[in-house]
């Protein structure tokens, strides 16, 4: 029972979801919507487990007075105030919106903008033109970067002969556009198709019970 029932559930759900796509009958659509809602409901409990794990981790740090336990208090404060503001006052409540606009958005944007500095140092290591591959990587990245900023066109217009500039005033931008929609697109399509074939084969393995690694966490 412990092994067979989960495999049957996977098989039945997978096959049903697969065939409902090809049968637009109201009955099938209704069951599809029902299953979609069931997945949402299970998702709520999964989120509670995720947040519960976070709470447990930081609660331990506080009770054991681990180094930096004060920061766990900050996590709790942020969690409790935001969740309470959202649950009690609603997602359009004044305090919830204020927290989102003045704390969440600035922190999110600043954290990601911080990556610009780390990417610059990573680029220095990755882009040293030692091999043909690294050189191609470097050239493509430089072309795209110069094509996306005004200084690219400015330099082109300042350095290139006037007759060339008259013919193609925004060459860096156009070359960057071509790299993005030409070779880059070809590589991305190849990756996308390959990944899609892999995802389909893994999905079939899950439905047929060949792939069972997601059951590994429950070893009993």
């Amino acid at each position: 029972m412990k092994r067979q029932i989960p495999l049957i559930i996977s098989f039945v759900c997978g096959i049903f979801m697969l065939i409902q796509f090809f049968i637009p009958h109201p009955g099938f659509i209704s069951v599809y919507r029902g299953i979609l809602n069931w997945a949402r409901i299970i998702g709520v409990f999964a989120l509670i487990i995720g947040i519960g794990t976070l709470v447990r981790l930081h609660f331990r740090r506080i009770t054991r007075r681990s180094p930096g336990w004060f920061y766990s208090v900050v996590v709790f404060a942020g969690l409790i105030v935001t969740a309470s503001a959202g649950i009690i006052g609603g997602t359009r409540g004044k305090l919830f919106v204020w927290i989102f606009q003045n704390i969440n958005i600035p922190l999110d944007a600043t954290m990601f903008s911080l990556l610009a500095f780390f990417m610059a140092s990573a680029a220095y290591r990755a882009f040293r033109a030692r091999t043909l591959d690294a050189t191609l990587l470097l050239i493509a990245a430089v072309i795209v970067m110069f094509g996306r900023v005004p200084i690219g066109d400015f330099l082109w217009q300042a350095v290139a002969p006037q007759s060339w500039v008259d013919k193609v005033p925004f060459l860096p931008e156009q070359v960057a556009e071509w790299v993005m929609s030409g070779p880059n697109m070809a590589a991305r399509r190849g990756i996308m198709i390959g990944a899609a074939l892999g995802a389909i084969s893994t999905s079939l393995k899950i439905i047929l019970g060949i792939e069972r690694s997601h059951f590994a966490s429950s070893s009993q």
């Binding site: 105030v81 969740a83 003045n102 990245a141």
Partner: protein, 219 residues
């Protein structure tokens, strides 16, 4: 007043995060932990209003008060959701397989036709369609290059045969396309991060009064 406090809070937190550029310090850790807590709280509040209330609470309420007994069916997924907690009890942790099996089977079944349509048919269609545009030699050359690029990239990812002869040459060409693609994606991502950085610096310049006055006088 409420808005002014908000701007000062945002300025303070932005500076706290940028202080990491000097070195790891308590101000950055404070901002980082606050971000974790607030993001978790935000997710919880959104899930409460968009999933818990409409899909669990209201159906159960209408089942109990209005006699819509069909709505009791939400108890089945709720029970499966509760089974997720069995992972904390070693003796019963096998029960966690049921909701996992449901979620994995459901998402695997939904994915197959969607991926087939969006990531395979559409991409093949997008690769072949430009051949219809015979308006210029440039358009035809581009179409040929994209098709060659897609084929070479796919051959590079084909591991079931040894790479020698024609397939070896094509997979080498695939690496060239991949490297250009990775470089372009890297450049694109760097520019996205730089634009975020410009946005934050602009925010600081606009909102810190004495810097704002210096910038305004400079203009």
């Amino acid at each position: 007043m409420f808005n002014a406090i908000g701007i000062w809070v945002a300025i303070g937190l932005t500076i706290c995060v940028y202080s990491f550029l000097y070195k790891d310090n308590p101000l950055f850790k404070f901002a980082e932990h606050l971000f974790v807590g607030i993001s978790a709280g935000y997710l919880l509040a959104i899930a409460y209003h968009t999933n818990f209330l409409p899909y669990i609470y209201y159906p159960l309420k209408s089942a109990l008060t209005e006699g819509k007994y069909r709505e009791f069916s939400v108890l089945i997924p709720s029970l499966m959701g509760l089974m997720l907690f069995s992972r904390f009890v070693p003796r019963y942790n096998w029960m966690v397989r049921w909701p996992f099996a449901f979620l994995m089977g459901y998402s695997a079944g939904v994915k197959i036709p969607v991926i087939m349509q969006a990531d395979i048919y559409r991409q093949i269609q997008g690769t072949i369609q430009p051949f219809g545009d015979k308006s210029s030699l440039w358009a035809i050359t581009n179409a040929v290059m994209i098709m060659l690029g897609v084929i070479c990239t796919l051959i590079y990812f084909f591991f079931s045969r040894e790479r020698k002869g024609l397939s070896g040459g094509l997979s080498e060409a695939g690496i060239i396309f991949l490297m250009i693609g990775f470089g372009a994606s890297f450049g694109y991502t760097v520019m996205a991060r730089i634009s975020l950085l410009i946005g934050r610096v602009d925010f600081l310049l606009q909102n810190i009064p004495f810097i704002n006055s210096i910038v305004s006088n400079g203009r």
